[in-house]
């Protein structure tokens, strides 16, 4: 019974768990436990699904036994399983980490709200990755987005409110664009089911309505994933959100949006958009600007969270480059970087959470000499940073390697050079932080502080360890990414 319902449990359990969280108004620990248990449950479910679909056969589930295309179909294939493992894995680790960090950053009487919203977000993100229905996807997109806005607004500074509001307006624009795109497709094909759309789209692919649909879908999802130059909501949202929220969002939300884009281009249109439309050229151009300009912007930031936020926009550029190359290696690199970037940014933002926990600031100048008093936290930050730069033996290297390989396959040397150049910029912005933390003295009269609590260090180091482990043993990640890419390209 359970096994038959596997494809829906990881969505439905957090969805039901969210209102339960409201009951823990007076007991933050209870709410945390609930979120923790559900997170780990979804991880177990996701891993089981990955195991099932790794044979190459997708799992399909008809909600309420209404057969597709009338009913809503849930469909987990290799790519979807890979993604839900990322999302639920990051969720499970951040929840382990969350209790003390959340208590330190969110007023006690609102903590239950945070966990409720977190569960809704989790459900929404997992739903997006699971559903096989374009409109249902919109619903989950809104569930995850609306709850995300609330989570961002829970940040300690008042600026969190304006950041959340800006995110709300722009995010809603994005969702609206998406739903307009879906509407246009529905107008031409009369179906919302993805599998059905795949069959019906080719007939009408050349019509102006569908062209407009592709444009709306691209810009709408582009907004959600932080595509340059429509990423403007992202830096503020990441900067002012509570640490745990930033870590969770940076590692999952944008990745899910990238997934949606891959779905649209490669599943719905079977890669045909790249042949008939200049999508790839435009995305490529924007991404190249992103990886260079956003890395340069990151260099000048003084708030480290903001620095990493800009770095995220640049990193998303790498994924989009991989996707818009439209080759198996390129797509593998893009999909691989989804996973790897989640690991590195997750680790880095969790490290910043530990820093904030102790010194109540994430400004570069306040971090002077921090490595002496918080050696484990800063070591984690350095390792995450090395991974971000792409040093061998870390996941960052594996991603960059495949990306460069993909550009060389096409013999696009200047692009490879641009990627390497932006890595150099990453060295600069990471080094700024490392130099301050390791080679400057603690200011005289600074409050004496200790290392972050073990309950935060351990989950953080789990992610750091994963950065190294998957940098050495690439079988699981590369294997899955390549298989997913081959499935997508092969149709």
């Amino acid at each position: 019974m359970i096994s038959a319902n596997l494809p829906i449990l990881h969505v439905i359990v957090p969805l039901i768990g969210a209102p339960l969280g409201l009951m823990f108004r007076r007991s933050p620990t209870g709410a945390w436990l609930l979120a923790l248990i559900i997170s780990w449950f979804t991880l177990a479910d996701s891993l089981a699904l990955l195991l099932i679909v790794s044979g190459g056969e997708a799992v399909s589930y008809e909600i309420g036994d209404w057969a597709a295309p009338w009913g809503i179909e849930y469909r987990v294939d290799m790519l979807a399983a890979y993604l839900i493992v990322i999302v639920s894995g990051i969720g499970a680790v951040t929840m382990l980490y969350a209790r003390q960090s959340v208590e330190a950053e969110i007023p006690r009487d609102r903590i239950y709200l945070f966990y409720t919203m977190y569960l809704l977000t989790l459900s929404g993100l997992l739903g997006i990755a699971t559903t096989g229905d374009t409109f249902n996807l919109f619903v989950f997109l809104e569930i995850s987005s609306l709850s995300t806005y609330v989570m961002v607004s829970l940040g300690a500074e008042r600026r969190a409110l304006t950041a959340a509001f800006r995110y709300l307006v722009l995010g809603t624009l994005g969702a609206t664009f998406y739903v307009i795109g879906v509407g246009l497709m529905y107008q031409m094909t009369g179906t919302l089911n993805m599998a059905d759309l795949v069959n019906r789209l080719p007939e009408v692919a050349e019509t102006r309505t569908i062209l407009a649909a592709v444009a709306f879908l691209t810009v709408g999802i582009g907004l959600k994933l932080g595509l340059f130059p429509v990423h403007v909501w992202l830096p503020n949202a990441y900067t002012y959100a509570p640490s745990v929220v930033t870590a969770f969002l940076a590692a999952t939300a944008t990745k899910v949006a990238v997934y949606v884009l891959v779905r649209i281009y490669y599943t719905l249109f079977k890669g045909g958009v790249f042949e008939t439309l200049p999508v790839d050229e435009i995305l490529l151009a924007l991404s190249i600007v992103a990886i260079v300009a956003m890395s340069a912007v990151a260099i000048f930031q003084t708030n480290v969270k903001r620095l990493l936020a800009y770095s995220s926009v640049a990193q998303i550029g790498y994924m989009l480059i991989g996707i818009s190359l439209a080759t198996i290696t390129g797509l593998t690199a893009g999909i691989l970087h989804l996973f790897n970037h989640a690991l590195m940014k997750g680790a880095l933002f969790l490290a910043l959470g530990c820093v904030f926990f102790r010194i109540r600031s994430v400004n570069v100048d306040d971090m002077a000499g921090l490595a002496k008093v918080m050696p484990w936290t800063m070591a984690a930050f350095v390792t995450g940073g090395l991974s971000l730069i792409g040093i061998p033996l870390t996941v960052g290297f594996v991603s960059k390697w495949y990306l460069i390989l993909a550009t060389l396959e096409k013999e696009w040397w200047p692009l490879a050079a641009a990627i390497l150049f932006s890595s150099l910029l990453a060295v600069i912005y990471m080094w700024r932080v490392i130099e301050v933390a390791y080679f400057r003295e603690r200011p005289a009269g600074a409050v004496s502080i200790g290392e972050a609590p073990l309950a935060m260090l351990v989950p953080m180091w789990v992610l750091v360890g994963a950065n190294v482990y998957f940098g050495i043993d690439t079988d699981l990640t590369v294997g899955t990414a390549r298989a997913a890419a081959a499935l997508l390209m092969g149709g």
């Binding site: 800006r166 307006v169 062209l211 907004l223 435009i282 956003m294 912007v297 060389l408």
Partner: protein, 563 residues
């Protein structure tokens, strides 16, 4: 089980535990690692191990053949000597870094492909910089920074070269590379930096003497000899290397003669000895490659011995400057004796290790008819005696009495020096075991009348010159001075030059300079203007503006699609 661990990895992994161990057991633990390593190395049969396929290329993690065994074995021996020498030192950073560094160098020696080589190559750079920093002075921090930049640059060149080569040949195998292709040149440049080729050499004299007394001993043995190994593997018989080698062997001599810091003298002399090996690789005959490998083996031992003796002096007196030392033989007789043995080996005295290996390179040069290289190498040999053989022991232990009466070196230092000295003499007297290890069968006989006589002639005339110059007061006195080397060009001259020219040649150049400087400033300003916190790309946009941007992007997509 242990056979399946790649050589070198034992020490790298072992290094991780070092900071956690109490200091009592740490020394024994550190010493055990290279001992296990060397036992493991000799229990493995030649061949390739740890093959795997990564990114569609075949990688060979471990390749054991005669060439890699010689270098691997001497690296393990140097590791053991260095660890014994450093037993009294309780600096965890230096201990951890040095173990990992030595392990990385050994791992690189056995790398069968360029990717594995690259990983270990960078690892040696990153770990060794901590040894430089362990000097714990502002100078060592600055020197370490420069060192790190140059070393990492070498790794980047290697990676770039490897990718280009793989593109051309479809394989990352680390065998003969040659300079026919762009990839070959890139990899050669990477090796050249680590090998301290002329003009690429300054990191060596810059950083090694800034490390702690024990750190310098570790540093001296590995990085450059790893590069010699890599050259011998990838570029044997490349004629250009002969000329690079002879310039390397002759040029540093002049610096060595006038330099006052005796550890820096040894750094220059190290560079000059590398020249012999590079020239040997360039000649490329079996005898020459044997000579290069054998000389690397002997050189690691006697250079370590010399640096250990200077390190002991530095440890006891706090200085290694020739002008501040002298007369130490009274209270440090053992150190003096070991230093003289090291000096004799370095000068290639008959019955010492340098003689049986260096003469192989000279003979190979003569046999191939390279007259000019032969003569330059001959001149350099004489000069080695001059600065390593006479200058080091003379100014440290004899010369004018400085009045310093330091204690004899600590026992562990003496043991390490004693072991190294024994090896120097042992190889010199009975070279056959070393010859048996060399990559090619050895037919060379070191102790012929001709070799011995010509060598002694050189040494005697060199000694005569030193004595005459010293007596007549013509010898450059040991001054407390700073010797300017080529790095002055990029560290100081580069900055001053533009100013100087602008002032001297009037307004024309001044305008050009100002223009250039202005241009640079304008570029930085422009980058900051758009990317700085208040810049177009970074400031927080109003929602209205953001919406406008979104509309424009949508319009771009729609227009592009409809066209």
């Amino acid at each position: 089980m242990i056979a399946s661990i790649p050589p070198g990895l034992i020490m790298i992994i072992g290094a991780v535990l070092v900071p956690l161990l109490p200091s009592r057991v740490r020394g024994a633990y550190m010493l055990a690692l290279p001992l296990i390593g060397i036992w493991q190395l000799f229990s493995l049969d030649p061949g390739s191990y740890g093959q795997m396929t990564l990114f569609g290329f075949d990688l060979v993690h471990v390749r054991i053949d005669k060439l890699s065994i010689v270098f691997g074995a001497i690296f393990y021996i140097a590791a053991i000597l260095g660890i014994v020498y450093a037993l009294h030192n309780d600096d965890r950073t230096e201990q951890t870094a040095s173990l990992a560094y030595m392990g990385a160098a050994i791992g690189a020696t056995f790398a069968g492909d360029l990717i594995t080589l690259f990983v270990y190559w960078e690892l040696t750079a990153v770990t060794s910089v901590f040894i430089v920093w362990a000097g714990k002075t502002e100078r060592s921090y600055q020197a370490g920074m420069r060192y790190l930049i140059i070393q990492v640059l070498s790794g980047v060149l290697l990676a770039a070269g490897a990718v280009v080569l793989a593109k051309e040949t479809g394989s990352f195998a680390f065998d003969f590379i040659g300079i026919e292709s762009l990839g070959g040149w890139l990899v050669l440049a990477a090796f050249g930096i680590k090998c301290a080729f002329p003009l690429l050499h300054n990191w060596l004299q810059d950083s090694y003497p800034e490390a702690s007394p024990t750190g310098t001993v570790f540093l001296s043995a590995f990085t450059t000899k790893l590069a010699v190994y890599a050259l011998a593997r990838g570029y044997p018989g490349t004629e250009m290397l002969i000329w690079i080698g002879i310039v390397m062997s002759a040029w540093p001599i002049f610096y060595a003669v006038i330099e006052n810091d005796l550890r820096r003298v040894l750094a220059y002399s190290l560079n000059n000895q590398l020249g012999f090996m590079v020239a040997g690789v360039g000649i490329g005959t079996e005898l020459a490659i044997n000579g290069a490998a054998g000389h690397a083996f002997a050189h690691i031992l006697y250079k370590a011995l010399l640096l250990m003796s200077m390190g002991a002096v530095l440890h006891r007196t706090g200085t290694a400057k020739g002008s501040e030392l002298g007369g130490l033989y009274r209270t440090m007789p053992w150190t003096t004796g070991f230093c003289i043995i090291g000096a004799a080996a370095a000068s290639a005295f008959p019955l010492f290790s340098g003689f049986v290996t260096k003469t192989m390179i000279l003979t190979a040069a003569a046999a191939e008819g390279h007259l000019v290289p032969y003569l330059v190498l001959l001149f350099s040999s004489a000069a080695v005696f001059y600065h390593s053989g006479i200058k080091i022991p003379y100014f440290a232990f004899f010369a004018q009495d400085s009045g310093k009466r330091p204690d004899e070196a600590p026992p562990n230092m003496l043991i390490a020096m004693g072991l190294a000295a024994a090896a120097c003499v042992g190889i010199g007297v009975y070279p056959d075991p070393l010859y048996a290890m060399l990559p090619f069968p050895v037919t060379y006989v070191p102790y012929t009348t001709e070799h011995v006589i010509s060598d002694l002639q050189l040494l005697m005339f060199s000694a005569l010159a030193f004595a005459v110059l010293q007596r007549t007061g013509l010898y450059p006195p040991e001054l407390r001075s700073t010797v300017l080397d080529f790095d002055w060009v990029y560290r100081r001259l580069g900055r001053d030059w533009a100013v100087f020219l602008a002032e001297r040649t009037g307004n024309a150049l001044r305008t050009v300079y100002a223009d250039f400087g202005g241009m640079l400033n304008r570029v930085i300003d422009a980058v900051f203007h758009y990317h700085g916190p208040k810049g177009l790309l970074a400031r927080t946009q109003e929602i209205g503006q953001a919406t406008l941007v979104i509309t424009v992007v949508l319009a771009i997509f729609l227009t592009a699609f409809y066209l």
